[in-house]
Assembly symmetry: D2
Homo-oligomer: 289 residues x 4
Amino acid sequence: MGVDATRRYRLLLACPDEPGIIYRVSGALTARACNIVAFDQHSEGVAGGYYFMRAEFDAPIPFDTQGFEAQLAELLPQEGSSWRLRAQAQRHRLGILVSRESHCLEELAWQVERQDIDAEIKVVISNHARLESIASRFRLPFYVVPVSPETKAAAESQMLDILRRYEVDTVVLARYMQILTERFIAAYPRQIINIHHSFLPAFVGANPYQQAYDRGVKLIGATAHYVTSELDAGPIIEQDVHRVDHRHQVEDFKRIGRYVERMVLARAVRWHVEDRVLPHGNRTIVFPI
Amino acid sequence: MGVDATRRYRLLLACPDEPGIIYRVSGALTARACNIVAFDQHSEGVAGGYYFMRAEFDAPIPFDTQGFEAQLAELLPQEGSSWRLRAQAQRHRLGILVSRESHCLEELAWQVERQDIDAEIKVVISNHARLESIASRFRLPFYVVPVSPETKAAAESQMLDILRRYEVDTVVLARYMQILTERFIAAYPRQIINIHHSFLPAFVGANPYQQAYDRGVKLIGATAHYVTSELDAGPIIEQDVHRVDHRHQVEDFKRIGRYVERMVLARAVRWHVEDRVLPHGNRTIVFPI
Amino acid sequence: MGVDATRRYRLLLACPDEPGIIYRVSGALTARACNIVAFDQHSEGVAGGYYFMRAEFDAPIPFDTQGFEAQLAELLPQEGSSWRLRAQAQRHRLGILVSRESHCLEELAWQVERQDIDAEIKVVISNHARLESIASRFRLPFYVVPVSPETKAAAESQMLDILRRYEVDTVVLARYMQILTERFIAAYPRQIINIHHSFLPAFVGANPYQQAYDRGVKLIGATAHYVTSELDAGPIIEQDVHRVDHRHQVEDFKRIGRYVERMVLARAVRWHVEDRVLPHGNRTIVFPI
Amino acid sequence: MGVDATRRYRLLLACPDEPGIIYRVSGALTARACNIVAFDQHSEGVAGGYYFMRAEFDAPIPFDTQGFEAQLAELLPQEGSSWRLRAQAQRHRLGILVSRESHCLEELAWQVERQDIDAEIKVVISNHARLESIASRFRLPFYVVPVSPETKAAAESQMLDILRRYEVDTVVLARYMQILTERFIAAYPRQIINIHHSFLPAFVGANPYQQAYDRGVKLIGATAHYVTSELDAGPIIEQDVHRVDHRHQVEDFKRIGRYVERMVLARAVRWHVEDRVLPHGNRTIVFPI
């Protein structure tokens, strides 16, 4: 909006809480002629608690990111601080893992295509050939990597190779129906997003819609979360629900669920790629818009 | 609305499904000069499944209810059929059990007072004296029946005595924090409604808001259900949720939860006293408005 | 589900209310060995009011539809009754009109493809070439019919020709940004569904999101309605809203609105093609699932 | 939480946007040994736009509020800046105006009683005697000031006298069915909150539920807004909706609407008394929790 050239950055930081952090960080930015255009923060508000900040700012060109990060290291508590600085123009690179259900892949491809999700889908990997036509509709590279109990280790190695080749930084499990090993998960810490088709922690494990039907619930839901080594137990990014009643059979739950799932997953991915999500222990701080 | 005197009835029935039930029941009503003003039905739609019906109708005065019920017994399958016929003017008689939290009691008293819930609160029983002032605000009889592990059996006997004295037909656990014994529950089969402060089956048992906070969920909820001998496992009547985020502490969950709880419980009680709920196994068929 | 061959039908009827209609219609079906599998009804409940019914039933093969309809004509009040009987297998044939925005077309094509909407899209017509690639993705015939004030009459004639050639029975305005003439509307009475990008009747006319922004509303919405000759005033089929706040600019309203619009339109079209919508005056009776 | 004595303050400010405001304000607070515990901000993000901030902070005792405010005046742009500094312990003093409908008064009294709304209700004024018993239930002073077209000026003077006597700073129109004159409104600029029983701007004026019914909408709503001299047109603080369908008559709209109205009004009042609402032109910036 200005006459001078600037470039937009996003800073996401977490550190042990102490007075003056806003002042010091905003001071460092102001001294470097940066203009803060969006600012969110959260303090746990308890002794020994953490402080979380997200700032979007326009920096002059050139902007000495190394110098700024070195200064941050000085300004923040020495122990337990972490941050991520990213130019908005440097978009996240997504790898999407799918099985046979297309709706989550389609929604993501669609929202990326229309730039509602400001990221790039670099590759789609599946353990079945079924969704190749969907991937080709959106001109996305598609790889089939079959998985069986015997071949799991080799299959995961192959998948990691593909993801690295495409320089993927975020993996989305868009109804990928295989459980990943710790080794795979460790390669993308807090960078794998899964959509679980229930309102977690209700109905963990297989067939959540059947479980929900059997329990006679009046709302069904979906949960997007970061994947950790414990199944369906990682930090939750987003959840939503939809009303059902006695007229709905399991098939109706699946139909309705498809729409909840794709909306919840798309929101979670959008917030992740806009650097709006800070996992902290088993919780997330999310600054959504 | 008519010139002739009529009286409104509600028929709620469940029976093994077979063709022609609508025809036979509506025929019996038509032959008795009854006018159906509201009609809902549900068929499980599977072999061996059940059929459920709710009809509101205006019957001429006098209306031979015994004759009509005898006819129903003939028209419906001999095995497994059940129904309830009730004059709308014969309102449900509620007994409310509370502990220290007032919000559910207040909401129920209020909605009954303004006739949004078309029932009568006959008595309030608590294991603490704390809510006496709330009960007296609404001029409701209030009894304190303390409960300890040693006195539980005697206390429940005393409570059952009070409920019988007031001819209560439906017991509402409006944040009553004691677990009832099977003996108590058996005295009011499918007539005890509880509000659980979570989105069941997530977070059964104690301190559900703390559990929800620890899990980092993005929605909290409440569940109204019929009480069975298995804790927090009876047929669900109604559920709802409210959005929370990282800024909300457990105390905020409780504050927000109070509003979800009282709305969910009030809806469940309203549907129950308007004869809109049919429990069937561990599920409910609800014909809400 | 049975051994005998049957075929599923849907009956949708509206008539002046009088006692006994359920009995007579269900009797006619039972006498013809039809099994009612879903049944909804609504009575306006006032003197001179209307009665509305939707029945899904399995009829034996062959089923004398003409005879049944002749019988209906006898059973229902002579004046003011109307009905529609349709075999479920005889799917609705949709013609979709679009301009430059793709999201509604994509959602409909997608839901039809996965049979969540049980209909056929026979043709897509646009006043711009832009969405041709979307139509071809789903292998849908696509016609460009440019419209200018001078050519409007000719353009509409051309569009009606195309719609007739494809034997379209329902026209969906999926963000078609031209106002149709009375002549066009008269060709598809109560069979043209439009999506308006506001919570009608707020913000009729052009640029509803700008209007909503200027008014500072906290919720934005979308409305699917049947098109009548009065702009944005036809019977409403479905509406929904999404929360916004001060951080959202008009562009954000449009982004969020795209998801509300496509969900609302898809629901309305699904209900229409499943014969669940009865327009009556300027209102609709909807029996949704 | 600390050992040293502190007192919590809230600062709410609006000023023309320019770089460095966060830095300067947080610097002033840090220099005075204040600890920011909650911080929200919004920038309109356009040339000539405004900047809005809300900070909650713990200040040491004593805290030189005059000195701090003088410093703010120096730090912020000379033209167009405004702010409000308030000790959290200094609670808002509410005057509630009602007519015959009790539900909004009851909800407010109730939430204040349980301190969900951290304010004091100093007085209730009505143009009817009907709600006296409700006020006395909560031990609130209650005045009847009848209003007729001829006595309106005198009545408003009398009401202003009462409000001043109780040192009311915020007036809540809790279903007060009289239109206030400009003179009255000018006495409480942006300090009068009204609940309108529709989703504004739909259905302005009288009988919004009848209007909604006649239009056949599928959602009804309520709107809390600051009162300005133009009827139903002031800045919106909060809105919400509830689903209705063809079965609901105008009386049902009113019943459902009561719950939407009291929730929406209670939220708006809570945010107002926690200094979370900044009116700006005809819009509001709300930092809710």
